[in-house]
């Protein structure tokens, strides 16, 4: 049994790719009985306890059952392969020759020896990413494992996609990946197809405006790996390519899997027919569909109208390619201006400001509000934050409304409404996100007029088999009302929930997502709920020590992404920080504290200001939705003076 595997392994590259092609071609031709390959004795997740008395007998029975099952599987596979082979030969001889460029070899390939051992062995042949080029290679060296009746491979070059995906996820971002993971965890053997117009596998966005900029590695734009404060390194990709299977292999995957179809856009959705159409006219039908299309960055109209020259020097920041291009630009220009004072704008300003100390790059940030994060933080805190951003080397222009942008002498001239003029080499526009609701029309889905995005219910469902998650979802939050949230953790939470509901959970949005922002190593906060500066707030502050910085927090919890530090708490032991934190003691008033946002006297939002790992308490307070007479008492629950 094990010898066979060794042999198999040696012939793996050839055999795998060719047998994969075989299998998938055969299946595509629809020659086998069912949609799915021969049924493997399903993984019986024991719903009841095994054990009790007569263990030896049970053990023997188990072993016996497994070997019988294996034999049955072997026989059935061989039989169906035989049948398929014969039918295939017939079909080939009658079919008009499409692949005339390649010698029409009846490519005799073989199924791997059909024994239970196959289960794991079959999997790599499906999941091993083999390029289409390899399809021709096996021709030269036939891999004769002719133990069983062979299956024929006719090697068309065009990639044949599955015509049907039980779970179709439109969009390949954070929400989509979280849903895929959730579906796979809950539905054994689920086949999930992610369709994305990006060329990349699912990745996380926060490091694109934070950690990646602080990396020491000069090759970071290629590796996209970042070293977290605690030294632990990880990639921005959620999983490496070997996690996924190829879309062509999805149908044939015995244990299912997650396949990502890149560079394809879903342009039309037929809800009645439960199918979608891609931009290359391929149709894919589905059982359950998730729309997680996120959004595209907004631009200022006057930049769009300003012409080609200006547009060439403008970056809208969202994707990996934007990070790469901005990184390059920032090394080659003398001055860059960021328009926008929200999360993204401020984070990028701080990141670029850091660079400015080494390279002499001038970093300017301008926005209409009075201070950074003006729409989120109460005024006093927003002002304090602005000072911090300035200390990071950024020239901040507040209350700046752009009137016009023109290109002069290969530089950009930005004229503000109050008369100020700014000359710069490059602009980064961080002025918001436009949720992508392209499919609303064809699918007949409702779009929310207040918040934008697809309107869905509390369970993230738009219609019977359609869910929406992430930035594009305008959902009903039982506690906080209808809203649309554009944060990473929300994408994860809503993606997970959508995945759960797609597999029958019927749960409403309940676990409140959080978000965080770091503005340099000294200022960091975590927040939850509705954090809108127009609401009345109550802030309770203490004086901070050197230990209260985002850096120390990640060191303590052993993770780099703070939302993870909550869930991985049980499994990862905290890493004690040996090196003293180099951050200076905060002499300002607002070193650390808690800020409560109130709506009708009920706390609807909380910011933990330089106070970390207390999110569960904050979550609880919001969940309760109670009126608290004295918020100082509530603040005590956070122990802000402790670490």
């Amino acid at each position: 049994m094990l010898k066979c595997r060794t042999v198999w392994r040696k012939l793996a590259p050839l055999a795998k790719s060719s047998s994969t092609l075989c299998r998938q071609n055969v299946r595509r031709a629809g020659l086998n009985n069912g949609r799915t390959p021969v049924c493997v004795p399903a993984a019986h997740m024991s719903s009841g306890p095994v054990g009790g008395g007569g263990d030896n007998l049970k053990y023997a029975l188990l072993v016996g059952a497994v070997s019988v099952g294996g034999l049955v599987y072997a026989v059935v596979t061989m039989k169906s392969d035989q049948k398929r082979y014969e039918q295939r030969i017939e079909e080939l001889s009658t079919r008009p020759q499409k692949t005339s460029t390649k010698p029409t070899a009846a490519q005799i390939q073989s199924e791997p020896p059909a024994v239970p051992e196959d289960q794991p062995a079959a999997a790599p042949s499906i999941e091993e990413p083999s390029s289409p080029a390899e399809v021709e290679a096996p021709k030269d060296e036939t891999a004769p494992e002719t133990t069983t009746p062979p299956v024929v491979d006719s090697t068309p070059v065009s990639l044949k996609l599955p015509a049907h995906a039980p779970y179709l996820l439109i969009g390949g971002g954070t929400a989509s990946f979280a849903a895929a993971r959730s579906i796979r965890a809950r539905d054994p053997g689920a086949k999930v197809l992610i369709v994305t117009d990006e060329p990349d596998l699912p990745y996380m966005r926060p490091p694109l405006s934070k950690e990646l900029w602080f990396s020491d590695d000069p090759a970071v734009t290629d590796t996209l790996r970042f070293k977290q404060w605690n030294g632990k390194e990880r990639s921005i990709y959620f999983q490496p390519p070997s996690f996924y299977i190829r879309p062509e292999d999805l149908d044939g995957a015995e244990n299912g899997g997650v396949a990502v179809l890149n560079n394809r856009k879903v342009v039309y959705m037929d809800v009645r027919g439960n199918k979608v159409k891609l931009d290359d006219d391929t149709e894919i039908s589905y059982d359950k569909c998730l729309i997680a299309t996120g959004g595209i960055p907004r631009n200022l109209q006057l930049i769009e109208r300003a012409g080609e020259e200006v547009m060439k020097k403008t970056t809208l920041f969202r994707k990996i390619e934007d990070f790469k291009s901005l990184d390059k630009v920032s090394r080659n220009v003398k001055s860059v201006t960021i328009i926008g004072g929200g999360f993204l704008g401020s984070e990028l300003a701080c990141a670029l400001g850091r660079r400015s100390t080494e390279s002499g790059l001038e970093v300017i940030q301008m926005f209409p509000e009075k201070g950074n994060m003006g729409k989120v933080l109460p005024e006093y805190l927003s002002n304090w934050t602005t000072e911090k951003v300035k200390k990071e080397g950024v020239k901040v222009l507040t209350e700046a409304l752009v009137k016009s942008v023109t290109c002069k002498d290969d530089q950009l001239e930005i004229k503000l409404k109050d008369g100020r003029v700014v000359t710069t080499d490059h602009i980064v526009a961080a002025v918001g996100l436009e949720p992508n609701v392209d499919l609303a029309k064809s699918a007949g889905l409702e779009v929310d007029s207040d918040f934008g995005g697809y309107r869905v219910n509390a369970e993230l469902q738009a219609r019977s088999n359609i869910w929406v998650a992430g930035d594009a979802a305008c959902f009903y939050d039982i506690r906080l009302g209808r809203r649309r949230v554009e944060h990473h953790d929300h994408a994860v939470v809503s993606g997970r929930l959508a995945g759960e509901n797609m597999t029958g959970a019927s749960k409403p949005y309940w676990h409140q997502s959080m978000f965080w922002s770091d503005l340099g190593p000294d200022v960091g906060y975590e927040a939850i709920g509705i954090v809108d500066s127009s609401l009345p707030t109550v802030g309770v502050f203490a004086k901070a020590t050197a230990k209260d910085t985002p850096k120390a927090a990640t060191e303590m919890s052993g993770t780099g992404i703070r939302s993870e530090s909550e869930t991985e708490d049980t499994a990862v032991s905290p890493v004690a920080s040996d090196t003293p934190s180099p951050a200076a003691e905060n002499k300002d008033d607002f070193g650390k504290g808690v800020i409560f946002y109130l709506r009708d006297k009920v706390v609807v939002g909380i910011i933990l200001w330089n106070v970390f790992n207390r999110m569960p308490i904050a979550r609880k307070i919001i969940k309760d939705g109670e009126e608290h007479a004295d918020l100082n008492e509530v603040a005590k629950l956070f122990n802000i003076h402790e670490d």
Binding site: L2, R5, T6, S46, S47, G48, V50, G51, G52, D55, Y59, L62, Q119, P120, A123, E127, R181, S182, I183, R184, A185, P188, G189, R234, F238, Q239, P240, S242, F243, I245, N255, G257, V258, P378, E379, G499, P508, P536, T537, V538, G539, V540, F541, A542, T567, E568, D569, T570, A571, V572, K620, D624, E626, H628, D630, N632, V634, K636, L637, I640
Partner: protein, 151 residues
């Protein structure tokens, strides 16, 4: 002493450590451990395993998810004296699967096929002999703790 000031609609309170020494009299509503809406920990109220627990990372959803679920379920429901002793085969097949994806499941001791064939690999044998609970997986996918504290 705490100090308070108003800034328009916003109230700001500064407190010293002593101010916050006295326990809080804020009332929180008691949580229902069986609330179906809440996020569950690793073990569900009915005793089953929550495969979607974030603590498992991608273990149950990756290419070796099926093997992982089988092995772990077997272990979880095992009533043997040495818990999970009848699950060795399942753990082995899970191990074999994981070795095919070293990128996803980096092993401490990356043994080759040959040593696998002869005897249980050294690295994993010690764990498996005692109890298959500690499965060596990548730091990104933290080992599932079998005695879960429902978080």
């Amino acid at each position: 002493m705490s100090y308070c000031r108003e800034d328009g609609k916003d109230r700001i309170i500064f407190v010293t450590k002593e101010d916050h020494d006295a326990p809080s009299n804020a009332e929180l509503i008691a949580d229902d451990p069986n609330d179906p809406y809440e996020e569950q920990g690793l073990i569900l109220p009915d005793g089953g395993i929550n495969w979607n627990c974030p603590c498992l990372g991608g273990m149950a959803s990756g290419p070796c998810g099926t093997q992982f679920k089988e092995a772990f379920s077997c272990f979880h429901y095992s009533k043997e004296e040495v818990k999970g002793s009848e699950c060795i085969d399942k753990f082995r097949s899970m191990q074999e699967c994981m070795q095919r994806f070293p990128e996803l499941y980096p092993q401490e001791d990356d043994k080759e096929d040959s040593s696998q064939e002869s005897a249980p690999a050294d690295g994993s044998a010690s764990e498996r002999d005692s109890s298959p609970s500690a499965v060596e997986v990548s730091p990104e996918n933290p080992p599932p703790t079998v005695n879960p504290t429902a978080s």
